[in-house]
Every structure is written in structure tokens, then in C-alpha cells.
Symmetry: C2
Subunit: 208 residues, 2 copies
């Protein structure tokens, strides 16, 4: 009886450690899921915003028969380097959002890997934010000169002649500002998602 | 024998979990110090860059006796809304860097509190990055029109007459671009600092 009892408790001893370790993962496994879902949604919104901004900017070409100069005078986005940079920046943001949405959806099915992904997401999100914010500023500044002119520098306003062109500019800049805000939210989400995974050990250790 | 064997394994079961948790904290206490020092250094650099950008922009006023119009024609940064926004944005970034440098230095002496600080630093760093990047883009776009003009929109270049003004503009935009890069590095540093504090529990659990 004793010889048969001794081997029996060994599997019982081996069993408890996984039981003790088991209660810790469940709260964690819920947290990344919620954050990853928000991440996916924000990235889809970012994609929509980037595509909208590019399409609105590119389709803003307007040709007007101005009486003051000679004949038909077109206005296109690629007449200003700021607008070319804007289209390039938002196109990059759109492509980036496709790639990261796919990665983020894959991370939904592998809850463990989001911890490794998030710092890398932050790096690229921050770079894209810098590019998109600078593009918004550049296009906004040029569009503002187009709208108001600048009498000190001798730059005449052009929006009194090109309503459609300027409406597209304004809409495009507004959408890209929205895309920049979405990127800010994505970075803040990643930072909080990371901070939620840090156990509050140090405080509890000191209090004990 | 059977009745005494059963209670004995229970204290043995309770003992392993604290031993397993104990070795994790020591590497953590070293990590934040190194990251916080880098954080303080980057914030001091950010302050220097922001102040330099503002001073260079504000001191760029130039008055020129142009023969073509009438008399002395000054060029000042506050003739363009983009430059006013630029000065405001970089001033905010400079003030923000002072406040956060002080907080970051205080965090050096309290290693435990950096975990709570970092997500908040990321939020405000990202907002300031958006503001500074947009200001850099706006000022850069207007400065580029000043340098090259835009024949399509009928905007003449002004930098052939105002060398000093344009040199200050260019230097100021370059320094604010540097400040934006420093902010990007600060956010990446915070993200990695947060990710280093997450224990690699999940992987070790799966491998066991």
C-alpha cells in the first residue's frame, strides 16, 4: 500500500504550480483583447481618413477661364511642393495603416504576441504621426495663404477665383488633421496597453 | 502515515510562488534609472532646441530699403500666421520641456514612480510632437514659398531681397525639425521603458 501511495502524491505536487500560475493570465488575456480591438478600429479609421484626404486633394484640380490673364488657368495640387508632400505623406499613412491593421488583426488571435508588437507599433506610429502632422501643417499653411493671401509678402489670395480647388484643400487638410488625431490616440492606446501589463509589484512589495 | 503526509505538502505548495516572484524585481530597479537619465538628457536637449528655434525666428526681423516700392520695407515673423503659430508652438514645447525635465529629475530619486509617470509622459509628448511637427511643416512650407516662390499661384519669392530674414527662417525650421526628432525619441524611449518592465511571464509559462 505504501509503495503504491508514494508515486501517487508526485503528480499531485506537480499539479499545483500550474494552478497557482493559472489565475494570473486570465485578467491579462482580457486586457490586450480589448486594447487590440480598439487598435484595429482606430487603424481602420486611420486608413479611411488617409485615403479620403489623398482622394479629396488629388481630385481638387480646377481649371478656370480667368478674364484678367489670357485663357484657361488650371490649379492643381501638384503646383505646390507642400501639396505633393501632403499626398505622399498621407499615401504612406494609408499604406501603413493597411499593414498594421492586418498585423493587429493577427494579434487578436495570438493574445501573447501583442506585448512584443506594441513597442514596435509605437515607434512606427510616432514616425507616421510626425510625417502626417508636418504634412497637415504644410498644406494648411499654403492653403491659408491661398485663402487670405499675405499682403506683407505680396502674395495674392487665389481662393476667390478657385472655389472648388480651395474647398478640396480645406477638406483634405481637415481630414488629415483628423488622421493625425487618430494616430495620437493610437500611440496613447499603445502606451496604456503596455502600462496595464506591468504588475503593480513594487508598491505592494513596499507596503508588505 | 497517510494522514500526516497530506498536510505536509501544503506549506511546500505555498512556498514556491514567492520564490518564483522574488528574482524578477532586481533587474527592474536598474532599468528605469538608465531610461530616466536618457529621458532627462533628451528633455534638456528639447528645451535647448525649442528656445533656439523661437529666438532665431523672433530675431529674424529685417528692414530693407527696397528701391522698387517706396521706402523701408520690414519683414517680420509676425507677418505670417504660420510663423506666429510656429513661435507659439515652440514656446509651448520649451515650457513643457522645463516642467517635464523637473518631473523626470524627481523621478530619478523615486525609481518606483516612473512606471506611473511614463504613460502620462507619452500622452503629453505625443500632443507636443503633433503641435511641433505641424508648426515645422507650416513654417517650412511658407519659408519654401519665400525662397522659391510659386509661379502657378503668382506668389513671388522674397528671399532674394531678405537674406537675413530667410536665413533665420531656415535655421529656425531646421532646429524645430530637430526638436520634433527629439520628441519622437522621447516617446520611443518611454514605450521601450514601459515594455522592459513587463515580465516575460506568458512565454515562460507556455514553454514550461
Amino acid at each position: 500500500m505504501e509503495s503504491t501511495d508514494k508515486p501517487a502524491p508526485e503528480p499531485q505536487k506537480a499539479a499545483p504550480p500550474p494552478e497557482a500560475a493559472a489565475p494570473v493570465p486570465p485578467p491579462e488575456s482580457k486586457v490586450p483583447d480589448r486594447f487590440v480591438v480598439a487598435d484595429v478600429v482606430l487603424r481602420v479609421i486611420l486608413f479611411a481618413a488617409a485615403v479620403t484626404a489623398v482622394v479629396v486633394m488629388v481630385t481638387g484640380n480646377q481649371t478656370k477661364h480667368v478674364p484678367v490673364p489670357r485663357v484657361a488657368v488650371p490649379e492643381k495640387f501638384n503646383y505646390s511642393p507642400a501639396f505633393i508632400y501632403f499626398v505622399a505623406a498621407l499615401s504612406v499613412a494609408g499604406l501603413y495603416s493597411i499593414v498594421t491593421t492586418v498585423i493587429s488583426i493577427l494579434a487578436l488571435f495570438k493574445p501573447g504576441c501583442s506585448t512584443k508588437l506594441l513597442p514596435h507599433f509605437v515607434i512606427f506610429d510616432v514616425l507616421i504621426l510626425g510625417i502626417v502632422a508636418a504634412a497637415t501643417g504644410a498644406a494648411g499653411a499654403v492653403a491659408y495663404i491661398g485663402l487670405k493671401g499675405n499682403s506683407h509678402f505680396g502674395w495674392a489670395k487665389i481662393c476667390n477665383n478657385y472655389h472648388k480647388f480651395c474647398q478640396h484643400l480645406a477638406a483634405s487638410v481637415a481630414v488629415s488633421l483628423f488622421a493625425a488625431i487618430v494616430l495620437v490616440l493610437l500611440i496613447i492606446l499603445s502606451a496604456f496597453s503596455l502600462s496595464k501589463k506591468i504588475p503593480p509589484r513594487r508598491d505592494s512589495d513596499i507596503r508588505k
